[in-house]
């Protein structure tokens, strides 16, 4: 294992994603898109998209295992709605309520993860259909809880409001306002949680047995089975983790925007899939890396921010740009991978000819 290979496909795709993010960000600064000159913008991207980063990690894990989970957005909306209703009905000053809310969020995520994981791995139903049903179920339950938006405000739950207002302030990354005061850069708790999720899932996938098993399962199920890996349990666990992460994402969303609404995180599952792909995860399984996913999410977030800040303030421009970018990435991946495969095949052919 000591021999260092050049760059494998995942690392290559991740590197491309990182480079494009850097180029895009620097271009935004140089061309003077409003707000990008401040470091706070980077933190804002993290703050606003913390939930998306978390579910993108969830999707990467499932996709590496060769599956798919499109229920994550629905689970977020259900979690946010259930938690806001719970908070509005509990004692406003009670800090214990926050912990119970967190447990509620984790419980909802876990329930969906376990249910879908069981159906997919032990009853061998196609993951797309099961998680589609999960999406319908979670969105339907959300509107059953309330059709009207439910807002958690300082009046309805003071303790939670105080808790969500906590921000990590980093003075030296801040900027000096016009009146001479230094305004520190602010990072929300949710963003820290998201970064933590990225690091932990990276470590899990790289160093823990379950993570290695997920790669093996996605790469080739038959081989994984012959290696003595418990394929069913591994697949089950990948869905449980993704469910749990969607619960966490729901809580993070609630902290960022404490309003339960039926349209919360609409279509975010597709954004998460796109982010995973841009980051170098293949839907076929076995290839992927959550660091790449993180940068994939940041690329999507940066595009949206740039378009939002520019004069092209139409939602359809945003869609067109992200669609076009996705197309470029997908084509780039396909071309690079097929070129590599061809080179490899040539090499192998040359070796066999030399041997023969």
């Amino acid at each position: 294992m000591k021999r260092r290979e050049p760059l494998n496909n995942t690392q290559l795709l991740t590197t491309i994603a990182v480079c494009i993010f850097a180029v895009m960000y620097i271009a935004a600064i140089v061309t003077g898109v409003q707000g990008f000159e401040k470091f706070q913008m980077f933190f804002d991207l993290l703050n606003d998209n913390a939930y998306l980063i978390i579910i993108s990690c969830a999707l990467s894990i499932v996709m590496i295992g060769g599956g798919i989970n499109i229920s994550v957005g629905g689970v977020i909306s259900l979690t946010v709605m259930a938690c806001s209703i719970f908070l509005n009905n509990s004692a406003p000053q009670n800090e214990l309520g926050i912990i119970v809310t967190l447990l509620l969020a984790l419980g909802i995520g876990l329930a969906f993860g376990v249910g879908q994981g069981f159906l997919i791995s032990y009853l061998e139903i196609q993951p797309f259909i099961v998680t589609l049903a999960g999406m319908f179920l979670s969105r339907g339950l959300t509107t059953m809880l309330s059709v009207e938006p439910v807002k958690v405000s300082a009046q309805t739950h003071a303790a939670f409001y105080a808790f969500r207002s906590n921000k990590i302030e980093i003075p030296f990354l801040g900027y000096i306002a016009q009146n001479g005061n230094t305004i520190p850069a602010k990072l929300e708790i949710g963003a820290v949680v998201a970064l933590l999720v990225v690091v932990l899932s990276f470590l899990m996938l790289r160093y823990i047995k379950l993570g290695r098993n997920i790669y093996a399962l996605g790469g080739n199920q038959q081989s994984a089975l012959m290696l003595g890996i418990n394929v069913k349990r591994t697949r089950f666990m990948s869905y449980v983790i993704s469910g749990l992460l969607s619960g966490i994402a729901g809580f993070v969303f609630l902290m960022h925007k404490p309003t339960g609404n039926a349209s919360v995180a609409m279509r975010s599952e597709m954004d998460a899939i796109a982010a995973s792909i841009i980051g170098g995860t293949l839907l076929t399984g076995g290839v992927g890396n959550v660091i790449g996913t993180f940068f994939g999410t940041m690329i999507l977030a940066t595009i949206q921010k740039i378009i939002g800040m520019s004069k092209l303030n139409d939602s359809w421009w945003q869609d067109m740009a992200s669609g076009a970018l996705l197309g470029v990435f997908i084509l780039l991946q396909s071309v690079i991978l097929s070129a590599r495969d061809k080179a490899k095949a040539k090499k192998a052919g040359a070796v066999s000819i030399a041997k023969g």
């Binding site: 798919i68 159906l119 032990y122 009853l123 061998e124 139903i125 196609q126 797309f128 259909i129 099961v130 589609l132 049903a133 999960g134 999406m135 319908f136 179920l137 969105r139 339907g140 339950l141 509107t143 059953m144 059709v147 039926a262 597709m270 899939i273 796109a274 792909i277 293949l282 839907l283 076929t284 939602s315 359809w316 421009w317 869609d319 067109m320 992200s322 669609g323 076009a324 996705l326 197309g327 997908i330 084509l331 396909s334 071309v335 097929s338």
Partner: protein
Amino acid sequence: MISKSKNGKKSALGQLLIPLTALAILLLFNLIRDPNFFAIKVAVNNDGNSVLSGNLITIIDNASALAIIAMGMTLVTAACGGQDISVGAVGAIAGSFFVKVLKSGEEITAGSVILGVLVCILAAVAFMMFNGTLVAVFRIQPMIATLILFSCGRSIAYWITGSATPQLNSPIIRAMGMTIPGIPIPTPIFAVILVGIILSLVFRFTNLRLYTQSVGINQGAARLNGINPTVIKLLSFVLLGVCVAVASMIGVCRMAQLSHKTLLVDVEMDAILAVAIGGNNLGGGKFRIAGSIMGAYIIQMLTTTLYAMNVATVNVKAYKAIVIIVIVVAGSPVIKSKIAALSNKMKSGRQLSTAKGVR
């Protein structure tokens, strides 16, 4: 998997067993709940034509667009082993081309409608060819390749039409979307029948079914046998494009207006569901279009039943999810093989007991 290969011909019927049972249970449930549910009356519509009305007609009529898309989706699923999630968005694009052509003249005439239909089909096929090229030539997974148009298709539709909701007021459009004067059956139903007949004729007189299945089962083997997988995959996307165009015209004509946000919205998920409920493997290979059509009618009947039971529109999804899970669990390979094992056991037990009795 093993039982499938063992049973051979039996599995073809077995595939339709689950959707047929589901349809029968839904019908029975409605009959018990409300004996008048299936009553069909002759009513007079706004134009003064007598038309058939009733829940059954509504179900079959409203499921038309879904059924047509499900047919095309079955082909793509079988050939490519993946699903197209951009059908709704491409439908919106095709619909806006259709409306653009109709709106370009002063009045909507038969000639402009025919031109509109042609342009609509061409547009849908062109955009589907884009998807198909990504899938067949660049070997990208269908779901990923179609994610591009899924995310920006409706914006393209908006870009084409420009205004939010163009209105179409013409007797021809009403005839296409609702009923032709003198014929009491809604026109979209005829569209389903027409597309179904064309597809079955294609399968009857060409080798397309065999080729599609072999590409879906083993692409390499198909190539070695002289089938060009790229062409077959592209062809499946072209056929899906035609289906999507027809469905989008049904949608536009029924509402007599175009809304790029709501035309065929969420139809991709329902179409994939219809394919799965119809017993088709989402991983490609063997397929039965009849199953998918049945799946589409099951989904529509479920929705109509829930509405008839006064379930709020927004809550329908939750109940739908539960029924879908029940249907797919009943059709899951593990449950199937368990049931087969159980019935085998019972059979052998009976044989054993009769054998003992003879002794």
